[in-house]
């Protein structure tokens, strides 16, 4: 790397000559002094209580409002989701109960029909349904 604290080459010398300082526009000093004077009384009468600049307060307020909205949205979302799950569970329970009732009813109806025909469920479907005799029930217990 070239050492920039050594002698400048021709291009750099030209660059230095071209990059002369520029005077500020007319009225710069007056405008600056006006601002400075406007600031001095404001500083001397300023309360000693530490206050945040208005812009910072506004930003903090907006940030807080956004955060509160997000948190509230999160809670509402969770609540809605829980309610939906409860509703689904209730519907599923009702459907299950209905299905059980229908099945019981169908079984009763089938059993009655078979009995009228002199058959039992085990004979009809080849399933051995063992009915415990009262004596066996006692032993089993």
């Amino acid at each position: 790397m070239r050492k920039f604290d050594e002698v400048k080459d021709e291009f750099e010398q030209e660059l230095g000559r071209r990059m002369r300082r520029v005077d500020p526009p007319e009225g710069f000093m007056e405008r600056l002094l006006e601002r400075a004077e406007a600031e001095i009384p404001a500083r001397s009468t300023r309360s000693t209580v530490l206050t945040m600049p208005r812009r910072t307060v506004f930003r903090a307020w907006v940030g807080g409002a956004i955060a509160a909205t997000l948190v509230a949205g999160l809670f509402v979302g969770q609540h809605i989701r829980a309610r939906q799950q409860e509703r689904k569970a209730e519907v599923a329970r009702q459907q299950f109960e209905t299905a059980m009732q229908v099945t019981d009813h169908a079984l009763d109806h089938t059993r009655a029909s078979l009995q009228r025909a002199g058959l039992t469920l085990s004979e009809s479907f080849g399933i051995e349904i063992k009915t415990l005799e009262p004596q066996e029930k006692g032993e089993a217990q």
Partner: protein
Amino acid sequence: MQIDSIKFRNLVEQHQSMVFSIALRVTGEFGVAEEVAQDAFLELHRSSERLESEDHVRFWLRRVTVHRATDALRSRARRPEAAAEEWMDEQHSEVAGAGLDFGIVARLDELLRTLPEAMRIAVVLRYQEEMLPDEIASMLGQPVATVKSNLQRGLQLLRRKAVTTMKEYVRAEI
């Protein structure tokens, strides 16, 4: 160093061209540069008690101006090339009284504005303010190697662009 209004006025007169020129070459806009320069002097007015000497004031003003100018650039999110035409027009009128070949000066400043921010700042401080790399590094809080690298790359870019642009300029003048 406590400063009264007369002392403040003297300091502004003494340093206004330095502060304004740094702000102008970093931001590339006259209006923004004036705002940056005023902000730097107002901050000097507020912080005068902490400043110990004339050298300290100059060092402090350069640093604050560079930081304010960088902030202004970023807050406006303008690319350096964006206001090149505006810069050229303004620069023409400002340097007219200086008796320079302002066509070339304006083009050089225009090229300078196309450099990335870090390189532009290093080049301005080195060639406008004639600061040494270690002084620039100390002022910007950067390693000297970073400053040297920015200077080297900035100069390479400027050379490359200057060759093309100056040829075009000479051709147009003929």
